[in-house]
């Protein structure tokens, strides 16, 4: 299986070829093989495989990559729509004022 692919043509990943210096940091951190090394700079190999984790742009010393990073989690989206501050998915970090019993877990 060549890796699971989510929806097509939704990803916000952008590459500024001018700024790229071929340092290759983005290739190290990308967990889905989205990028590849091309002759003069990095190129996007498989855009739809991008999960917008933001690792590439955060680790690019030259700000050549941009992406609207976020966690693709429906529960977190619903929580934030409902205005819950602890609007997170896998990793609910509760505000410290909440009693232990109220701690909630979802996913991963």
């Amino acid at each position: 299986m060549g890796g699971l692919i989510y929806l097509k043509d939704v990803v916000t990943l952008k590459l500024d070829e001018e700024k790229c210096t071929r340092c290759g940091m983005c290739l190290e951190v990308c967990p889905h093989g989205v990028l590849k090394m091309n002759g003069k700079h990095i190129a996007i190999r498989n855009r739809d495989a991008c999960m917008e984790c933001g690792a590439c742009s955060r680790n690019c010393p030259f700000e050549a990559i941009s992406v609207q990073a976020g966690v693709g989690c429906a529960a977190a989206v619903i929580n934030s729509m409902l205005g819950r501050k602890d609007g997170d998915c896998c990793c609910l970090i509760e505000s410290e004022t909440l009693p232990l019993a109220k701690k909630k877990t979802t996913c991963c």
Binding site: L7, A74, V77, C90, L100, C108
Partner: protein, 353 residues
């Protein structure tokens, strides 16, 4: 500055350093560690499954031993040390508030700031002579390697995604293969997520299922309990089947279900479950209440399954936020519409005599 406590259950000894006594741990997990993992997988005491942040010695490291960085979720820490038998490392544990590496990196708690702070407070600079750290690759969303270098003087190497690949990565001279850098989502990786999902969903379900059973008793020509046993128990069973379909079958069959959107996959299984249950029960389409009952469940079951499937996006390893937003734009109104109208139609079918 506080050192990690030596009194933690998994600590087997201590190492004297210029910073004081640091806890020593082994690569061998004890039965208590395995039990802890099982409990955490079932959602029992999961949010308190954390260890003290700071520096630990694995084996007998010295000033030139490599430094690995991990989260203070005990399962992450255990996975790491378990994969390094017979080796000597320093393990720098960050305070991620008991959250695993990837999730914490996504939130920024496993981030540049915490790493730089922890390098400082652990006294790492006095303990090792080199200035190099090995981070799990999945820390990437939170840590900017070049900024860590600038702020702390330590250069960051990203190791493999799986701790189990660390020995091979070390032997190859800090080189990860392409496979080591790809995050998979195998059957096994999906299956271990099921218990927590199921436990969370079952909590409200244990209240809703009896309510459905009692609602089934309303109306109809027979007595209340005769109705409840017939229509009510079917309702409760249909509801629980929808949950099992969404929280168990969907994760297991994920790659084989039609559609890319998780809700679409969920609708598909939900429809199959609904049709199977209705056929098993025997169609009763001669009367209006009978037809409406069938229609009601044909709407409710897929709606529930699709909703649960949609929520599995957060557990998956490949969904983007843009994609989830796109999916939810159509699926959430559909799920609420189908579920709500299905419930109204079913209750109406009970009230018609």
């Amino acid at each position: 500055m506080s050192l990690p406590r030596l009194s933690q259950g998994f600590v087997i000894g201590s190492v004297s350093t210029s910073m004081g006594e640091l806890p020593r741990v082994s690569s061998e997990l004890r039965w208590q560690d395995h039990l802890g993992t099982i409990k955490a997988r079932w959602g029992i005491g999961r949010m308190d499954y954390l260890i003290d942040p700071g520096l630990y010695a694995l084996g007998h490291p010295d000033g030139s031993s490599p430094v690995l960085v991990s989260a203070n979720y005990k399962m992450s820490f255990d996975k790491l040390r378990e994969s390094l038998p017979g080796r000597d490392f320093w393990i720098l544990v960050l305070d991620t508030q008991g959250i695993n590496v990837w999730c914490a990196a996504g939130k920024g708690t496993f981030g540049t700031e915490e790493l730089v702070k922890r390098i400082d407070s652990s006294g790492l600079k006095a303990i090792v002579s080199h200035r190099s750290l090995i981070l799990p690759q999945l820390a990437g969303p939170g840590v900017a390697a070049h900024q860590v270098k600038k702020l702390s003087g330590f250069s960051v190497r990203y190791g493999p995604i799986k701790a189990a690949d660390l020995p091979a990565y070390m032997n190859a001279g800090f080189k990860a293969t392409t496979e080591m850098r790809l995050k998979t989502f195998t059957m096994k990786e999906r299956a271990v997520l099921i218990p927590v999902e199921l436990m969370e969903t079952m909590k409200p379900a244990l209240i809703i299922a009896p309510v459905l059973f009692l609602l089934g008793g309303l109306g109809g020509p027979s007595g209340f309990w005769a109705n409840a046993l017939n229509h009510g128990s079917f309702a409760a069973m249909a509801f629980l089947s929808a949950i099992v379909a969404g929280a168990v079958i969907h994760p297991l069959l994920l790659p084989y279900l039609p559609g890319r959107a998780f809700s679409a996959k969920g609708l598909f299984i939900g429809m199959i479950i609904a049709l199977s249950l209705i056929c098993l029960r025997g169609l009763e389409l001669q009367t209006w209440p009978g037809r409406m009952e069938v229609l009601g469940w044909l709407l409710i079951i897929p709606a529930l399954t699709a909703y649960l499937a949609m929520n599995f996006t957060g557990c998956s390893t490949y969904t983007s936020l843009s994609g989830v937003n796109r999916e939810m734009r159509w699926s959430l109104p559909l799920e609420i519409g189908m579920g709500g109208s299905g419930l109204v139609i079913w209750i109406a079918s009970r009230l018609m005599t």
